[in-house]
Every structure is written in structure tokens, then in C-alpha cells.
């Protein structure tokens, strides 16, 4: 008997703790849609110096309505780098529910025209724009896993910062795009009933006894958006190294940089693009002051080139048409190597 009573009390204590937790949760976020708020006052008084029974007023109450409030943000804070011809290029966004009810969101994405973002003006349209919702919350687009194109359901905020889900925008970059072109795209989200793709309407007119819908997002239009940018680069890099070949006294053994010594310059063009060969690559390098070009020394990828690739200038320089530098084949970058020699005056 005693044991049973104790058990009962423990159960009650647990129940009390649980409901306390719920209340505290409710304090942290907005009061949930549909919650009834009720108010009762009391009055104590005396008549002829004699205290009378306390009186409690009838409850005055109202129902908390649905607050549609959310934000859309671009995640990286910078442009998404891409190359001509690249497909399924991922730009990452975040949709955050800061309202007091669980909702769905319908997503649309479109090219912008002529807008400026990250200090660059939009001058390119990408193609095949699509949206996908991060289904497993890892923040990375997983083809075949992140398949939903709209947000089916996002719970009400449990913190003051709201509840977020990552949204990926995928696009294809035209093969004809050129270096330093920029494509701005805008993701727009509109709140819907859970599982629907039709934006939720605001309750028109006066308050109703039921739960009404109030658009509380910026602009109060149930439409929030953010832009990201695809920045096109052709992914070519240049490195230049110098090596002493010989001097007039040590010959090729530990040569020193003295007048009459021969210096070889090596210029490597690297294409790190995984999608696009670089064509018509031209390499120009001026002959350093106090040196003289050594005829017959120009090479491209190990093969000799005629001295017509040397221009006396000024400035005296070597100009080599390296032709096509192939793309990264999946493991190594494509390269083109230009070499030429000079003598120190």
C-alpha cells in the first residue's frame, strides 16, 4: 500500500516536471498557434469592516493565431565558383521558420537580370535551374537522396533563432560562358499548409473564433528570397621557375649566376577545370633586363619551336601559342610547359 502510494507520487512528480519543460519551451519560442490564453482576476474587499469572500471574474480568453514568419538566406556569403559547361553546380541556401506553427514551403528559383551581387554585375543566365531540400540535414547535396523540390514540413521555432533547413539550387553553366562572367539567381520561398505547394492565404477581415493566419514576414507578403551568384572562371594557373644551366668557368657543374651564365625559364600553364579544356592558350613572357635571349632555346612540351616565337620588341619577349590545355581528367590537371633560355649580360 505504502509502496503503491509512493509510486503514484513519483509519477505525479514526473508529470509535473514534464509539463514544466513544455512551459519553458513555450517561453523560448513564440506561443504555439491555436493556444488559448485565458485571464481571470480576483478581488478582495470588506463591507462595514468585515472581509468578504474573494470574487473571481469570468475568464477572458483569446486564441493565439498562426504567425507566418520566415527568412531565406544565402549560406556561403560569397559567389559559387564554376567553369564553362559545368553541370549540376550547387548553390546553398537556408530557409528558417521563425513563426509559431509547422508549415510547408514552396520553392522557386530564377535567373536575375543585371543585378549586382558580391560586387559583380549579373551578365549570364544559367540553365536547368532546380531546387532540392537537404533531406538528411548534412548540409551537402546528395544526388538521389535529396530529392524533394519543396519543403514538405518545417516545425515551429523552438529557439529565438528559429528552425532551419538547407535548400540546394542546382544549375548548368553554358559551355559558351567565358572567364569572369557572373550569373545571379534568386531563390524564393512561400509558406504553404504542410505537404501543399499552394501558398497559405492570410485570413481576410476581422478576427474569427478559430485560428487565423497572419503574414508576419518582412513585407508581410508571404514571400522571402535570397540571391546567390555563379562566378565563371576557366581555371588556368601559371607558374614560372628559373634554373642555372651553365657558366663560362664552372660549365654545368654547380654553375653560378655570373655574366655569360645561361639561365633557363620554365613556365607551366595548369588547367584545373574538371569540365572544360582551355583552348587558344597563349603564353607571353618578357626577357628580363640585363639578359639576352638565347636563339634556338624555345620549347613547348619538350618540343623545339622556331625563333619566330621570340619578338625583339621592345619589350623583348617570348610569345608561344600553347594551343589546347586539356581539363583535369579526374586525377591530374592538364598542363602545357614552355621553356626558353637567356644568357646573363
Amino acid at each position: 500500500m505504502t509502496i503503491a502510494r509512493h509510486v503514484k507520487h513519483v509519477g505525479l512528480a514526473l508529470l509535473a516536471l514534464t509539463s514544466l519543460g513544455v512551459v519553458q519551451g513555450a517561453y523560448a519560442n513564440g506561443t504555439g498557434s491555436g493556444t488559448t490564453i485565458s485571464n481571470q482576476a480576483t478581488v478582495d474587499y470588506s463591507v462595514g469592516g468585515v472581509s468578504q469572500a474573494q470574487i473571481t471574474s469570468a475568464a477572458a480568453s483569446f486564441v493565439v493565431d498562426t504567425k507566418i514568419d520566415f527568412t531565406v538566406t544565402e549560406v556561403s556569403g560569397g559567389a559559387t565558383p564554376t567553369h564553362p559547361g559545368q553541370t549540376n553546380v550547387v548553390a546553398t541556401f537556408s530557409v528558417t521558420n521563425t513563426g509559431n506553427s509547422t508549415q510547408g514551403w514552396v520553392l522557386t528559383v530564377a535567373n536575375e537580370t543585371g543585378t549586382t551581387l558580391f560586387t559583380h554585375v549579373d551578365d549570364l543566365d544559367v540553365t536547368n535551374l532546380r531546387t532540392f531540400v537537404d533531406s538528411n540535414g548534412n548540409g551537402t547535396y546528395d544526388a538521389g537522396t535529396d530529392t524533394a523540390t519543396n519543403i514538405n514540413s518545417l516545425t515551429a521555432s523552438t529557439t529565438t533563432t528559429g528552425v532551419s533547413v538547407t535548400v540546394f539550387v542546382l544549375a548548368d553553366v553554358p559551355a559558351g560562358a567565358t572567364n569572369n562572367q557572373y550569373a545571379n539567381v534568386r531563390l524564393t520561398a512561400r509558406a504553404t499548409p504542410v505537404g501543399s505547394t499552394t501558398p497559405i492565404a492570410q485570413t481576410a477581415g476581422a478576427d474569427t473564433a478559430g485560428v487565423d493566419v497572419v503574414w508576419a514576414d518582412a513585407g508581410r507578403d508571404n514571400s522571402e528570397s535570397a540571391a546567390d551568384q555563379y562566378a565563371v572562371s576557366v581555371a588556368l594557373t601559371l607558374t614560372k621557375t628559373a634554373a642555372l644551366i651553365s657558366d663560362p668557368f664552372n660549365l654545368t657543374t654547380n654553375p653560378k649566376a655570373i655574366p655569360g651564365a645561361v639561365m633557363e625559364y620554365t613556365i607551366v600553364v595548369t588547367n584545373s577545370s574538371t569540365v572544360q579544356d582551355a583552348t587558344a592558350v597563349s603564353v607571353t613572357d618578357n626577357i628580363p633586363a640585363n639578359t639576352t635571349f638565347q636563339p634556338g632555346s624555345i620549347q613547348l612540351n619538350g618540343g623545339g619551336l622556331p625563333d619566330s616565337n621570340f619578338l625583339a620588341g621592345p619589350p623583348a619577349r617570348v610569345v608561344v601559342n600553347a594551343g589546347t590545355v586539356v581539363k583535369n581528367n579526374g586525377t591530374v590537371n592538364g598542363t602545357a610547359t614552355v621553356k626558353f633560355r637567356v644568357t646573363i649580360d
Binding site: A41, T42, V43, Y45, V47, G48, G49, Q52, A53
Partner: protein, 160 residues
């Protein structure tokens, strides 16, 4: 007037008061919630209290508690108390009531003026209580209510 009459009159008064307490309450108490709405009257924008319309987190509600003496004798020591409703936060300095002393409580037991209300931290230090920590508001009327008299008190609270 002799001593006997005085005593008889006193007994009468006490009996009358006792009879009122037994029959019915001498004070009628009404609580109502409203929101402030900007309306145009005579070409001028003015704020009016209207019944609670659409209410979402962050909205302010004006709570009004009205007390009326419905007896034929005065009522005194009238004290109205109102716990701030669950899911709501009291708005600082919003409580008002003509002819009343206003006190606040963090626990519903101990009432103090806003300036005197202190919160004791775990380390023993104290600080002034914040308005959002007030759980109950209490208005003590300084004067008695004449028969038929009505008075109201009011405060604002925000939907959490």
C-alpha cells in the same frame, strides 16, 4: 442617545454586513482583453481599444479589470489581483489604476512596489526584478467604493 441604543445600532450594522456576505457578492468583477488599433476619426489618426483581433506572438494585449459595487453599502479595502496569463509577459510600467497603490509579485505571495522588488540569485546577490519576471499584479484602492461606484485598472502584456 444612551448606551443601549448605540450598542443596538452597532449590532444592526454587523448583522447587515453579515447578511450581505451571505446573500450575494457586493462587488462584480469583469476582465476583458483588447488590442490597440489605429483608426481614422474626423481625418485624424487616433488609437482606440478594440476587442482582441488576430493575435500572434509579439502582439500586445491590454487587459482591463472593472470592479463595481452592486450593494447599497460602501465597500472598502478593495484589492484586485491578476496573475499575468500563461504565455504572456507583462509590459514594463504599463499597470495603471486611478486611486490605487500598485504592487507586483514574483511568486503570488510577496507583493512589493516595482522599486522594491528584488530577485535573489543562487550566489546570494540580489538585483532589481525585471518587468518580464512579474507574475502577479495587485491594485489596492485607497478609498472605499460608494454604492454603484465603478473603477477599473489596466495593464499591458505581450503574447510570448
Amino acid at each position: 442617545m444612551n448606551g443601549k441604543t448605540t450598542i443596538a445600532a452597532l449590532v444592526m450594522t454587523l448583522m447587515t454586513a453579515g447578511a450581505y456576505a451571505a446573500d450575494k457578492a457586493c462587488v462584480e468583477l469583469k476582465t476583458s482583453g483588447e488590442t490597440e488599433s489605429e483608426v481614422v476619426e474626423n481625418g485624424q489618426k487616433v488609437k482606440r481599444l478594440v476587442p482582441v483581433g488576430k493575435a500572434v506572438p509579439g502582439d500586445q494585449i491590454v487587459w482591463t479589470i472593472t470592479a463595481t459595487n452592486v450593494c447599497k453599502t460602501p465597500t472598502d479595502n478593495v484589492v484586485i489581483a491578476n496573475p499575468v496569463p500563461q504565455h504572456m509577459t507583462y509590459v514594463a510600467n504599463s499597470a495603471m489604476g486611478t486611486g490605487t497603490d500598485i504592487a507586483y509579485s514574483l511568486d503570488g505571495k510577496e507583493f512589493k512596489s516595482a522599486a522594491e522588488l528584488q530577485v535573489r540569485a543562487a550566489d546570494g546577490t540580489t538585483r532589481a526584478a525585471r518587468a518580464d519576471e512579474y507574475r502577479v499584479i495587485r491594485w489596492t484602492f485607497k478609498a472605499a467604493f460608494a454604492p454603484g461606484a465603478t473603477a477599473f485598472v489596466r495593464y499591458r502584456a505581450t503574447v510570448q
